[in-house]
């Protein structure tokens, strides 16, 4: 029995199955995704393309292998709901009694129920419980809204307001979700550290802002030059032992500025259909992937 061809066929079948499942199907489902009008915030496109300097920064990020220690994939373990009362209706004393029944331990007084609206009535409920509670409120004449609260260690650390999804990477030339977290996740870095100067100083020598940090110093992204007639406006403000010698200043190269622009453009706070959150009431500009001033 010559089972050479059989072995080949077995391998061919197995590999083509996995190729079909993990190469072809994702390309068909996700590969042609484009910027979309956000299903939730209908007025804007998501994701906004990064401005040119941030795109150059993405190339610096890739070339220096930042993705080997930093991930860009926020995880989410669940979504809880808070019920927010927006309108106490006309019969506030009956509502107060009803609420005291539903939520033992609260002591709502009649008129004060309607004060300070909108206010949170129920926290950390599952979506089904919240829906039941909202119906009960409606039957008592009140109106309510839900506020979604994603949960998970990544979200509690502020690494993102919601989990990362495929749409987040659509405008990236190279998707760099990373595979190891020696340092924090960077999906929301633009929101976590808004000051580009902090980013520059941190890149120059992480030990300046986080003592004993294991992150390497990226001194090659900066030039040490003699101070001219006056200090350059870009010069890093360093203190203590990290300060360069007198007459010298540390100035970021264009690569450093591009990298910082990229880091500042990383945001993970836009609500999407597949990752719903209740957006802050802040204006839409804060949720795009473009850097803000």
């Amino acid at each position: 029995m010559r089972h050479g061809p059989l072995v080949f066929l077995a391998a061919f079948f197995a590999l083509s199955a996995s190729w079909f499942g993990f190469v072809l199907t994702p390309q068909v489902e996700l590969g042609r995704a484009a910027q979309e009008t956000n299903a939730v915030m209908k007025a804007e496109l998501y994701p906004m393309g990064r401005p040119g300097i941030a795109r150059q920064g993405a190339e610096i990020y890739r070339a220096n292998g930042c993705a080997y220690c930093h991930s860009q994939q926020v995880q989410q373990e669940g979504t809880l709901v808070s019920v927010v009362m927006t309108d106490a209706g006309t019969n506030t004393s009956a509502l107060a009694d009803y609420l005291n029944q539903l939520l033992p331990g609260r002591k709502y007084m009649g008129p004060s129920v309607g004060a300070g609206l909108p206010k949170v009535i129920l926290t950390n409920a599952t979506i089904d419980d919240a829906a039941i509670f909202a119906k009960k409120l409606k039957s008592a004449g009140a109106a309510s809204q839900f506020r979604l609260v994603p949960i998970g260690p990544d979200i509690e650390r502020g690494w993102g307001e919601r989990r990362s999804v495929a749409q987040d990477f659509v405008m990236d030339a190279t998707a760099l979700p990373g595979s190891l977290r020696v340092g924090p996740d960077l999906s929301n870095e633009g929101n976590r550290h808004r000051d580009p100067n902090w980013q520059l100083v941190h890149l120059y020598n992480p030990a300046t802002v986080t003592p004993k940090s294991p992150m390497p110093a990226y001194k090659f992204l900066f030039t040490r030059k003699k101070i001219g007639k006056q200090a350059s406006p870009d010069a890093l403000q360093l203190t203590g032992e990290f300060k360069p010698d007198a007459e010298y200043e540390i100035v970021p190269t264009p690569e450093a500025k591009a990298l910082v622009a990229y880091l500042s453009s990383l945001r993970s706070d836009t609500p999407l259909y597949e990752a719903p959150i209740t957006p802050a009431a802040a204006p839409a500009a804060a949720s795009t992937n473009a850097p803000t001033k």
Partner: protein, 484 residues
């Protein structure tokens, strides 16, 4: 020293010596280059490891930043040593089992040269900043072309050698190697074409393909080739066939079916069906580990330590155990409850090291220690060195894998605990990383021993085979007589 037994009384019988002789040219090229790349990989891995607790090391040099040194180390190990030595050992195994000469050995050596050139160009590209950004696929496009062409050249003639076999029936080692020879070009071409061509796929699809490729390379390809070599040597040294061919066939199916769907992390920013399928497949690979351990243990019985090449035998035995442990750890790490702790931590790095170095590289090193004396007909210059290498490698692997696995679990728990600040998590992992640096030192020393031994043996071979010819040629050249 040369074995002169023949296989059969058929008129076209071929001696083992002739088989080995036909392997000499390609194997010398492949093993020597592989040993060099192994040392290069260890050096870069050591530098990368040092940077964790000495962040100021070489900080001013862009080419030596961690993000460039680390991919050089992994690519040199995987492609420079792993695939190359794997193909060399596969060639020898196929020639030996098939009792046939190697087809076009010189072309195979040319293929290996192309492979090395592509890797060299690629490694320099990474150091210069052309890192593609995809794990295990960091070699830029200009290197990939040569790597692929070199592979094709090598694989075609290895397949031709398989085709020429006397015994038409295929054994487990041959199934595995045959499948592997076809597997690699498909995954390599697909991944590199879709990611690095002029019209690459966009968005997170890139990462899905990169993860798919990594899973197929690390689990399927290394698994198939490594196990083929292990099975061959076990049958050889126990002087009996594998305990169960059916079990070997079962292993084959579990590797190709389950291993090929592994590799996508559960946290990936992709629709839920993709990581779910991958999780299920990875957990199912535990069946592979169980079936292999069963087959090997039943074949070896109690005679595991009686081998004709003690040092090589130790390496192969260690490689087998590492396979079992690595695949079990990998499967356990994918179980959803465990994965929520170990995902994106050092745990995955430790398991990867155990699989690629502890299982695959150790197996190939052992095979090299066995094969080279047979093929060249000479003993290793330093007879004790293989044993010392074994102990260094053993210590090295344990010192690398154990801290990463344990440290990864600790790190995972720390990341989940919001009260532990980010810097604290890094600081708590530091002790584990320092121990792994010691492991890298041990491994580097061992690999230097292999390279030194190979160089010594090559020098001796040259002296034995070429110098007399050269001297003889010289002797025939008489000085011209000076006419008065």
């Amino acid at each position: 020293m040369n074995a002169s037994s023949t296989t059969s009384s058929a008129s076209d019988s071929i001696s083992i010596a002739e088989i080995d002789q036909s392997c000499r040219v390609p194997l010398f090229q492949m093993f020597a280059s592989a040993a060099v790349w192994l040392v290069v990989a260890s050096v870069f891995a050591l530098i990368a490891s040092l940077k964790f607790h000495m962040p100021g090391l070489l900080a001013n040099c862009a080419a030596f930043t961690y993000g460039r040194v680390h991919p050089v180390a992994t690519n040199a190990l995987i492609y420079g040593f792993g695939v190359q030595a794997g193909l060399g050992v596969a060639l020898w195994v196929i020639a030996r089992i098939g009792v046939t000469r190697v087809v076009q050995p010189w072309l195979i050596a040319v293929g290996a040269k192309l492979w090395n050139f592509g890797l060299l160009v690629g490694v320099i590209g990474i150091l210069v900043g052309d890192n593609t950004g995809f794990e295990n696929l960091e070699i830029p496009r200009y290197g990939v072309v040569f790597l692929f062409l070199g592979y094709l050249l090598m694989a075609i003639f290895i397949l031709a050698t398989l085709h020429n076999r006397r015994e038409r029936m295929l054994g487990p080692s041959q199934w595995f190697l045959l499948a592997a020879l076809f597997w690699f070009p498909w995954i390599y071409f697909t991944a590199n074409y879709l990611l690095l061509s002029h019209t690459p796929v966009r968005g997170i699809t890139q990462s899905i393909i990169a993860w798919w490729y990594s899973g197929n390379l690390n689990l399927v390809w290394f698994g198939l080739v490594g196990l083929a070599v292990i099975f061959h040597f076990i049958q050889q040294w126990m002087n009996r066939p594998l305990y169960s061919r059916h079990l070997a066939a079962f292993t084959f199916w579990t590797i190709v079916l389950f291993g090929s769907w592994s590799g996508i992390p559960a946290s990936a920013p992709v629709p839920a069906w993709i990581p779910s399928l991958s999780t299920v497949a990875t957990v199912l690979t535990i069946i592979t580990a169980i079936s292999v351990m069963m087959n090997v243990c039943k074949t070896c019985g109690h005679g595991c330590s009686e081998t004709e090449s003690p040092a090589a035998g130790k390496f192969i035995a260690f490689g087998t155990m590492a396979f079992g442990i690595a695949w079990i750890l990998n499967a356990v790490g994918a179980v959803p409850g465990v994965n929520s702790v170990t995902n994106l931590t050092w745990y995955g790095v430790g398991v990867w090291q155990l699989n690629v170095f502890g299982f695959f590289a150790m197996t190939m090193i052992g095979a090299i220690y066995h094969i080279v004396p047979q093929v060249t007909g000479m003993e290793w210059p330093c007879g004790n060195s293989p044993k010392r290498h074994y102990w260094l490698a053993l210590i090295g692997v344990i010192l690398i894998v154990a801290p990463f696995v344990i440290g990864g679990v600790v790190e995972g728990f720390n990341w989940r605990n919001v009260n532990v600040a980010e810097l604290e998590v890094a600081k708590k992992s530091l002790m584990f990383v320092r121990i792994t640096t010691l492991g890298e030192v041990a491994i580097l020393l061992g690999n230097l021993m292999l390279l030194g031994n190979l160089v010594g043996l090559s020098v001796r071979y040259y002296r034995l085979h070429f110098v007399p010819v050269y001297k003889g040629a010289l002797a025939e050249i008489k000085p011209a007589e000076v006419k008065p």
